[in-house]
Symmetry: C5
């Protein structure tokens, strides 16, 4: 499935701007939630996907429209028509395997990002695409399925005194971006903790499963990095765009974001190095352990070799062998053998081979 190129089936031979969904159907029916708010008032509506999309922009309020489920290209097209979104952007919403980017259009700012869904500790991390359309006083977000990433924002939005309520949708856009970056830091923290635990285990008692874990986390780090790195460019571009859709004040708040993304990327880099070191460490421990075993076995054999030789000597059928007729001959030969093996053991001990 070529996870490291795109996570999706590819459409072939279609013109640019064709509205065809190319991801996985993650939920059965799309859900639309519209929140109109200003500092004094907030109204939340759930819209049936079949209903007509209400006209925007509403003059007096900021509007956040969220769509969960982007597989219905017809619905996307209707939203696009209502808000005058270009087919190029709509195509990017439907194509969930996009590389994150930001682009300013005439009447809105368009951006796609990835958020991570982390399951239990042995599962792969998966990314989902989130798209933002930021207009003058509206923000439309497109998610592949309902998720908890933006729940904290919803909660704060319900409080009349919160900053989000005091500001326009560009501030809302910023808080959502902040959420996305927190999501990155969190997923890195989760994986980072597991890697540091793994490091602990590998350096104390390495076993073959660790090798699989190391390779698994390497892939995960590569996967996360691929989704996060373009976000750095997005944030840098946002500052340079001087877009009319983001106010000076909000840009001021955004000063924090480059720092967050750099922190994420720095850490990924370090965890990548740690996994590389872990791999060599694992190899070395395993090699050393095997070699110790082989060394012990070789030493064991080596001690018996002269003894067997002496036994062989006295097993020869010569007529005259000194000591054969001595009644203590056997005991003496056993004694000699014991002495030889004792000397060898001492020698090996002295040479630190044991």
């Amino acid at each position: 499935m070529a996870r490291f190129l795109r996570d999706k089936e590819q459409k072939a031979g279609l013109p640019p701007g064709s509205l065809v969904f190319t991801g996985q159907h993650k939920i059965s029916e799309p859900k639309i939630r519209i929140i109109e708010y200003n500092s004094s008032d907030l109204q939340e509506t759930s819209l049936d996907p079949l209903e007509s999309i209400p006209y925007c922009p509403y003059p007096a309020k900021a509007v956040w429209m969220n769509l969960d489920g982007v597989h219905d290209s017809e619905l996307i097209k209707r939203i696009g028509d209502r808000f005058n979104i270009s087919p190029m952007a709509l195509e990017d919403i439907l194509d969930t395997g996009q590389r994150p980017f930001i682009e300013e259009y005439q009447n809105y700012l368009f951006s796609t990002l990835k958020i991570f869904i982390s399951g239990t500790s042995e599962q792969k991390i998966f990314s989902e695409q989130v798209c933002f359309v930021l207009g003058k006083n509206y923000l439309i977000t497109f998610q592949e399925q309902p998720g908890p990433t933006f729940d904290a924002v919803l909660k704060r939005l319900s409080k009349a005194k919160s900053k989000i309520r005091q500001n326009n949708t560009d501030y809302l856009f910023y808080t959502l971006m902040d959420c996305v970056l927190e999501n990155y830091l969190k997923v890195i923290e989760i994986i980072g903790e597991r890697i540091e635990d793994l490091e602990e285990e590998v350096t104390t008692d390495p076993c073959p499963e660790h090798l699989e874990s190391i390779n698994f986390y390497r892939r995960e780090i590569a996967y996360i990095r691929k989704s996060i790195r373009p976000v750095r460019e997005i944030i840098m571009k946002m500052n340079k765009l001087n877009s009319e859709f983001i106010s000076e004040d909000t840009l001021g708040y955004m000063k924090d974001l480059p720092n967050m993304i750099d922190q994420a990327l720095d850490s990924l880099e370090i965890y990548k190095d740690i996994l590389g070191d872990l791999f060599t460490t694992y190899n070395m421990y395993m090699g050393t352990r095997l070699n110790e075993t082989m060394k012990f076995l070789t030493i064991f054999s080596t001690i018996f070799i002269p003894l067997t030789f002496i036994a062989g000597l006295y097993g020869m059928n010569f007529e005259v062998i000194p000591g054969l007729h001595n009644p203590h001959g056997f005991a003496i030969s056993i004694g000699i053998m014991a002495a030889i093996s004792g000397v060898m053991l001492i020698l090996f001990k002295f040479k630190k081979w044991l």
Copy 2:
């Protein structure tokens, strides 16, 4: 044949601008197809290579002229004369081992790119050169042989309502560029899937053939990367050129292209890393497997060594050896041997050597 420098024989000592074909004859006879179109009308003509090239630019229509087969330097020269193309550009068309680039000339924009022809899964990927000459209302494309890469564009061109028909040849140029990038993404997807399959196989049951596959794909990735990387520069340059041959609107559509090429290059980078990891993983599995075998054999031998020694003891010809005359002596000695080997087995088990 120095595939990683050029795919072709080198001409030596010729002046710059000499029109000599330096590639492989891939088809017997060049084919020329001319499509004149505007939003209402479309006319397709097949031209005999020996006929005279009709004069361009046609005043009222956009013209796309495609040549399959570039080995006929005489024909190339005639086309060049008709469209007033500089000998430097014509030389680049004939020299199929060029590094991709774009250059603006006085009355046209010239670019060469590579497209990939991927055969069945075990075959090498090969690149072919495509050249573009984009004038005010004409576009000439030069391909080494007929191929399916641009078929989708032809199909869309046949529909009067399609965007291509509504726009001039610069938009056509953009859609062809888009096709070329899709071709890159597709070839990376194909090779990516194979690499991810290979990874699966190597981590479950590695065998020596996998090593060859790893090296094979490494070469392929290097080969693709060499052809694609310069395309990034081309696209960046296209945006900065401010060329009169590409309209503002088309430039707007082109905003997607840098993202596509970055996605391609990112993925190549990751696949390159995966192959590197796979190589070490393969080596490690093979080494471990061998070492396990050697360890088993050594342990097997080690167990017999004290037994053989005891047998040797009682094979000595001393007159007096305790137990020789005991009728159960043999059985007792066998019992002692069994006990020793049992103890050793338990010990090895305990030490996790078995």
Copy 3:
């Protein structure tokens, strides 16, 4: 605990600007020390955290306010209110896992840095966050706990003739920055000396503990590097900011800082390389040592093998074996064996296998 992302628990779902402490309580009660000074006069006050914060800026004197212990978010808020510090900056003070950065606000310059606390030679190095709020004639520093890093500055401050006393708080800020960089150089020097000692030990008599040390120092270097690298950007930015809070004269003194940070980073880079080399050297020495052991044991066994064979020959029960009845047969056979082993020893010596 994901040390390489942040050193702290993460707050989840809180709005940006929420004042919640996210580090470790390192001291039980915060301590505030206020130093007002000019060239003629200096006055030091200890403030109870519960007292009200005196109003600033004081017209005639420079004020340095230092807070040890940043876990009391209420106190931080009160200080913030008094000095009109934005909630964003206050949040950064409370969040001790920040990536170092500098930011200019309307009425002050805000920066966070890390300083290192190095324990005894086997302990991990830990970093603490220091925050600076530099206003027109005041400087507020926030430390996690009382430490010796700034003691030298305090001492110099007490001398009326010192440059710090002659200048405003921007010069004080510079001397503190200088202290921080000296702290970096010192911690690198400490770890560098240990690494060079370790190198000495590893190349003379490597033992398995060295491997742990190598890995330990690798982590430490990565940890230090992660905290120091952003400081380079800070210093570069400081020069470009043209901030009103740093006078031209002080900027002149600051010319030294980039050089110090480059020296620190260069050395870290070299120590990282040395550790990498040490790792391979260690591996090689250990491998060589083991191989020498195995070679010796193998040679030892090899010498006995033909001897045992000869003993076996004369242990066969054929009726007629030449020499069996010779009274010197045994001695002769022993002689032959001695000769064979002698020849083998000479041969091995000659081949430099012994």
Copy 4:
């Protein structure tokens, strides 16, 4: 001889601008060839080194003066005086170990480059220095010895219709640069083919000589790269110089050069990677081969160990051993041994150890 720093003896303690030859005497006597040409006329003269240098610039013609052999510092000085070349440039001509560079002086453009002389396939590649002094209507080239690199240009120069004849010396300079770059591509092609052949051999039947070849080509690639990389800077600088000595038209032709040098550098990079891969592949094949041998020998020994043990059992001298008096005892014991070895062989086959 420190080939990777300079190829020459170093002069010590001389002032900058001292005219002392520091290379190898490659030919016994310098040769001067002067070609005066314009579109209608061409005149070639061989000058005796002892004759006086004719005055330049000639008003109506372009002049190309070529000197083969640069060891005669007296002659170089005389040429320098005639053409008013600064001592710094003259020194660079005499010092054949220079790093390639370009520099604009008041009345000429000065550049030094390397060309490669490749012998038969096992010989090292050696570079020679070529210097260019490009004035208003003259070009002086300094070569260490006569060589074929510029022969193609000479041939084209003899044709009155050739572009070189239609243009001034700046175009001649460009064609010579083009020759030099073709020389680079050719030497890379030669070495590239050998490397790809070597790759073929190493992957089919590796032998110790291949290791030497790999190291040999690594050095060659490093050597070529060292000489070529600065040429990229030269070409980039040439475009930015806006020099009066290179006309706009010629600059237009030069658009090709950056692409050629990038192609050369890209390929060198890939060949370097291939050699690195080849090294690991070689190592792995050799290791695998040895290990297979060792495994076979170990298995062989292992099979005999229990057999020898059984023989030892029946060699014991107990009075009562079951079966000793059985007339078929020997045959039975042989049968048991055959059975044991058979079972072991089957087991090893089953475990894929054979």
Copy 5:
């Protein structure tokens, strides 16, 4: 001693600008040499360190003052006072562990560099600090001890016709810089030759001492690189400074310097790579040699194993063993053994194991 951070003891807790010497006393008493010169006249004076420093700038002559030995902070301070040098610069002179840099002050240009003192071939290379204070018509150089680096300049200075005498102190500064760079190239040449010799030795007859040499040179290369790399920045900065202390003409002469430093850095890079390759090559040769030994020993043992088994067979005490009573039995069994070992030898030869 943390050679890779600084070569010196660290001063702790001192204010920036404190004049404390932190290096090693390399000579017992500082020596001052003052040379006043112009094109017609030159006067050299040795000054007693206790004498008062003559006032500068002298109106009509250029003055070069050189101080050998910088441990006398009192003397440095007196010089500083006389020439109005800032305490920051004086501190840098006394602190011999500085990273090389250049800084323009109001009335002079200040720079510190490293020069290398190379002893005999087995000794470590050590660097010394040289500081330059370049004023309008004076140049002060501070060296740790007298050395030959600037001797060539002194000699040229004595010739009235030399360029140095025709120019001001900025040209002198340039020639000294040129000397320093020549010193770098020379030290790299010396170490480069040794490395190329070592390469020769390692590839023909590697021995354990080579490993130490490889590690030794690695350290030396890292040490040199650390001192030289900042010089590149210095030279680049010098060109951009547009300083009033360096005339346009002298800047013209300085065009050579970037090329020299690039040559030095390129070569260091290549030698670093060569040492890396040498390390792997050494390892491989040693591994191969050991493996060959082990293989030989194993084969030797393997040949005796079936022979010993046969001897064991006929050593069994069965009553009936075919051939025991045959008078030629022993000879026949010996013959069989010889045949078996012969066949094995041929087989091993055929399989290329011998």
